[in-house]
């Protein structure tokens, strides 16, 4: 088993159009680096100077990782990571 990463439409040019890809790692940071090795260029769209980009939201099993531990958040086999751009409500 690996970790499923759901990719938003706008970043699917890095994943060959795939809506979801598998990746591995013990933390979100490792997971994104692992993602980068399979899909070069994607990391730079998610991370800037060691932090998640301002308008990128990442959820671990539907919970915002900014409240869990940011890029240091532990991840495990069977988890689902969802990447979404920030949008307005109201």
């Amino acid at each position: 088993m690996a970790i499923e990463v759901r990719i938003p439409t706008i970043l699917r040019n890095y994943t060959g159009g795939a809506k979801a890809v598998s990746a591995e790692g013990a933390t979100l940071d490792e997971l994104i680096s692992n993602l980068e090795s399979a899909h070069p260029g994607i990391k730079e769209r998610l991370v800037d100077q060691g932090n998640l980009r301002r308008f990128v939201n990442v959820y671990l099993n539907d919970e915002d990782v900014r409240f869990l531990g940011g890029l240091g958040t532990p991840v495990a086999d069977g988890d689902t990571v969802t990447v979404l751009p920030a949008v307005a409500g109201g």
Binding site: P8, T9, I10, L11, R45, L46, R53, R54, F55, V56, N57, Y59, D62, E63, D64, R66, F67, L68, T82, L84, P85, A86, V87, A88, G89, G90
Partner: protein, 315 residues
């Protein structure tokens, strides 16, 4: 209860327990029925506060035109207040919002400018900012950045909850402008040690995010991450399922965004049970289900309803 006018009757909504959906005798869930406001949503509070603050500041004078980007409820609330106070209202609204919202807006005399479905409310905000720049005499109240939005909840919604339920441990609400969470959250943090403030953010179908570049996203100016304990993303399938459970189990007919808040409320309640802690979880019923009947959210199987909701802004 007697009031001098409809506007005076905003707020003071009931807080009702959910005996069937609460998971344990000492882990209880409570619904704050914001659909019991004059136009049927929680937005009556910020709309009225933003208008009255602008009047106090001298920005709004009789005959003025108000402009606002809104996916619906704020516009409807503003339309009612604007009608009674003699202002013209123009709403910039994404085209993928329910027909009921449009009819209600027109009924109260608002004019609607549609913005493209792709991009959702981000696009409505962008359009409204352009229009405001081109029409300097129009007053944009701008719910996403107007402190009167969160102040309305700090001064009214928060104190009402604490007065009705001094043992509150969690507050859960939908995340849109972030005004409800910022206002109630700040108030409760000042009065309830260790209170947990939990956001339920709607996760829409792909169309809404489709054309968004990750470098040009939108975060409301009101948003202050430090007020929240955590934030959940709730998809339309979970939101619909919980909306129906609320109706079937407790008789409460609510809009789809309420299902998302209930989903997060049940999640934190389950965690409390697991941890052996007592909890009084308050969540917000932002509006009733009436405006969403045409979306088919309440008919057929959940899969069918989810399919019909694809691409719609349901919060």
């Amino acid at each position: 209860m007697r009031f001098d006018s409809l506007i005076e009757s905003v707020g003071r909504t009931p807080l009702v327990g959910l005996p069937r959906l609460s998971p344990a005798p000492d882990v209880r869930i409570w619904a704050k029925l914001e659909d019991r406001n004059p136009t049927g949503s929680i937005k009556d509070r910020p709309a009225l506060w933003m208008i009255e603050q602008a009047e106090k500041d001298g920005l709004l004078t009789p005959g003025c035109t108000i402009l606002e980007p809104t996916s619906g409820n704020t516009g409807i609330s503003l339309a009612m207040s604007a009608k009674l106070k003699g202002y013209r209202l123009i709403c910039v609204m994404p085209e993928n919002t329910s027909e009921e919202r449009r009819q209600l807006l027109r009924m109260w005399g608002a004019e609607i400018i549609s913005s493209p479905a792709a991009g959702g409310s981000n696009e409505a905000v962008r359009r409204a900012k352009e229009l405001a720049a081109a029409n300097p005499s129009w007053v944009m109240l701008y719910q996403y950045g107007n402190p009167a939005n969160w102040r309305s909840h700090y001064e009214t919604t928060g104190p009402e909850i604490l007065a009705d339920l001094p043992t509150v441990t969690h507050f859960v609400a939908g995340l849109g402008t972030t005004g409800t969470l910022m206002g109630v959250g700040r108030f409760l943090r000042e009065h309830v040690p260790d209170v947990r403030i939990v956001a339920a953010e709607p996760r829409y179908g792909e169309l809404v995010y489709g054309l968004r570049n990750v470098d040009e996203g939108f975060i409301p100016e009101l948003y202050d991450e430090s007020v929240l304990t955590t934030r959940y993303s709730v998809g339309s399938a979970d939101a619909l399922r919980r909306t129906r459970e609320l109706l079937a189990g407790e008789g409460i007919f609510a809009g789809v965004s309420t299902g998302a808040a209930l989903h997060a409320a049940l999640g934190v309640a389950a965690k409390a049970v697991k941890a052996g802690e007592r909890a009084d979880v308050v969540f917000v019923v932002a509006d009733g289900g009436w405006k969403y009947l045409s979306t088919g959210a309440y008919e057929g199987t959940l899969d069918e309803a989810e399919e019909r909701l694809e691409g719609q802004l349901w919060a």
